[in-house]
């Protein structure tokens, strides 16, 4: 199972086994990684699963979709590597993915 590393804003790391087909958000929420709220459960309705994708992984995680782009417009401290983790599907190609979490989702 692909492993994903989530790094909290404080620097604390969580290495999670993420099932293929689920999203990067779901794997975090199911293991209670603090800092990803994802209140809407992945419906792209709440913009509380913002992550920064490690630059080396940007090509493999793909582009933001248009809905995600609009939501991120209103998130805090958005960077070029900002994504909504509910929109990134886990695949074998993402084994080793590193994402960093923002200070706050609100």
């Amino acid at each position: 199972m692909p492993k994903i590393t989530y790094i909290e804003h404080s620097g604390k790391e969580h290495i999670i086994d993420a099932p293929v087909g689920q999203t990067v958000m779901e794997a975090a929420v199911k293991h209670a990684v603090p800092g990803i709220d994802a209140d809407c459960g992945g419906a792209c309705a709440c913009a509380t699963c913002h992550v920064y994708v490690d630059p080396e992984w940007l090509a493999k995680t793909g582009e933001r979709n248009s809905m995600e782009e609009s939501m991120l417009d209103f998130a805090n401290e958005v960077e070029d590597n900002s994504r909504l983790s509910c929109q990134i599907k886990v695949s074998e190609a993402l084994d080793g993915l590193i994402v960093r979490l923002p200070k706050s989702q609100h």
Partner: protein, 412 residues
């Protein structure tokens, strides 16, 4: 109430609200006992996908769960399923479960949710007639939910229309019966309702508006629905989505104030300082809306109630959001922020014909809500404005030449 005094938290109701309280307490460092009591066999799960991806078959029960079942044991949360709480003794601070076991509490959380209203009709208990609330309801529906089957949906609220949309995508023949003259009458404006009516009609859904069912026909199984005007419609299955009633039996039994839900203050505290009520069963004042009392049936409300209660028990405070909702129908994502009731003006950004537009609702010149169809920026922008207590004039907000982000940033 401070953490020092609270060693035992009992949560009645293991839906999203109840589940989130338990999780947030542990995440926040609460070291005392947590008991989470639920009537359904499954650990806390998300309900919104039931009428969307789960009905469609795109989402397994595993993915519906808020957290894997194993987490509760790991975090020392006593998950009591399926168990019914039958009595609350406020004086001795104990909850009695069916079978007689008693759980003492220092803080009690009522997260009992709501029950779907049953059709008050002959035939409502026939095989093939369903309510729509739980994963078990959907599991029972799915084998009948096949291409070519004739489905009658009673009630054109969000649940009814979402079910109709999935049914059309699965190739069922769909008729929606609604006693009001338009769909979504309780939850949105005539303009937005008209847009969804047109969309469903284009997708092949038939509507009987302003019509009431008189009885569900059939011997052992549903064969159709007879309307009060005598017309008969054939059906292989009937799904009722006619709203829910807050589950307040226990609150009433222990004499807590109930008026369209368990009455609480802004901290979700009932009139008993040791009992909180959150989620669909609770009625609380909304700080962004002049403390107007509402009982909201939504994920936002469930999660926010949980945040407030966990923070209160931990001696912290929780930031409040403007109410938000969403509905997925076909390729349309409707996102709603605020409370539109009592609006006196509506303004549009974009046009419904483009399938991408936002309807802004104003009351006495103040922006109070948005219905955004495939317009996430407009949704989030208005949500932020409401949370900050800001408003933007309709002629400004509807000016498509200016990006939403800029309008929100400029608001004062």
């Amino acid at each position: 109430m401070s953490e020092g005094e609270i060693k035992r938290v009992v949560i009645i109701g293991a839906g999203q609200a109840g589940g989130e309280v338990a999780q947030r307490l542990r995440q926040g460092g609460f070291a005392g006992d947590i008991s989470l009591i639920g009537e359904e066999p499954a650990p806390p799960y998300q309900r919104p996908p039931l009428s969307k991806a789960y009905l469609k078959g795109d989402l397994s029960m595993d993915r519906l769960l808020l957290r894997p079942a194993s987490v509760y044991g790991e975090e020392n949360i006593a998950l009591l399923l399926p168990v019914r709480a039958v009595w609350i003794d406020r004086r001795s601070k104990r909850v009695r479960l069916e079978g007689g076991r008693e759980l003492p509490y220092d803080a009690l959380v009522l997260a009992t949710g709501a029950r779907p209203r049953k059709l008050p009709l002959a035939g409502a208990d026939l095989a093939g007639a369903f309510l729509f609330r739980t994963a078990a309801d959907v599991d029972a529906i799915r084998p009948k939910f096949v291409a070519g089957a004739k489905l009658i949906v009673i009630g054109a609220g969000y649940i009814g229309l979402e079910v109709a949309a999935v049914a059309r995508q699965r190739g069922l023949e769909v008729t929606v019966i609604e006693t009001a003259v338009r769909p979504l009458a309780r939850v949105t404006s005539p303009e937005v309702a008209g847009f969804f009516l047109d969309e469903h009609t284009r997708q092949g859904v038939r509507f009987v508006l302003g019509g009431a069912p008189a009885l569900i026909k059939g011997q052992e199984r549903v064969t159709g629905v007879r309307l009060t005007d005598g017309a008969e419609l054939p059906a292989d299955l009937v799904i009722a989505g006619i709203g829910v009633s807050p589950e307040v039996t226990l609150a009433q039994q222990c004499s807590l104030g109930v008026d369209n839900g368990v009455i609480t203050d802004a901290q979700c505290r009932t009139e008993d300082p040791f009992i909180f009520a959150i989620g669909d069963c609770a009625n609380r004042p909304m700080s962004h809306f002049d403390n107007r009392r509402v009982r909201l049936e939504s994920v936002h409300n469930a999660v926010e109630g949980a945040k407030i209660v966990a923070a209160t028990i931990l001696g912290q405070s929780a930031a409040l959001e403007a109410p938000w909702f969403w509905s997925d129908q076909y390729d349309l994502k409707l996102q709603i922020a605020g409370l539109f009731q009592d609006y006196d003006h509506i303004a549009f950004r974009g046009v419904p014909e483009s399938r991408s537009f936002a309807a802004f609702y104003y009351k006495a010149g103040r922006l109070i809500a948005v219905d955004a169809v495939n317009r996430p920026g407009e949704y989030l922008g208005v949500k932020m404005l409401i949370q900050k207590g800001l408003s933007v004039a309709p002629e400004v907000l509807t000016d498509e030449s200016r990006p939403m982000k800029e309008l929100v940033a400029a608001a004062r």
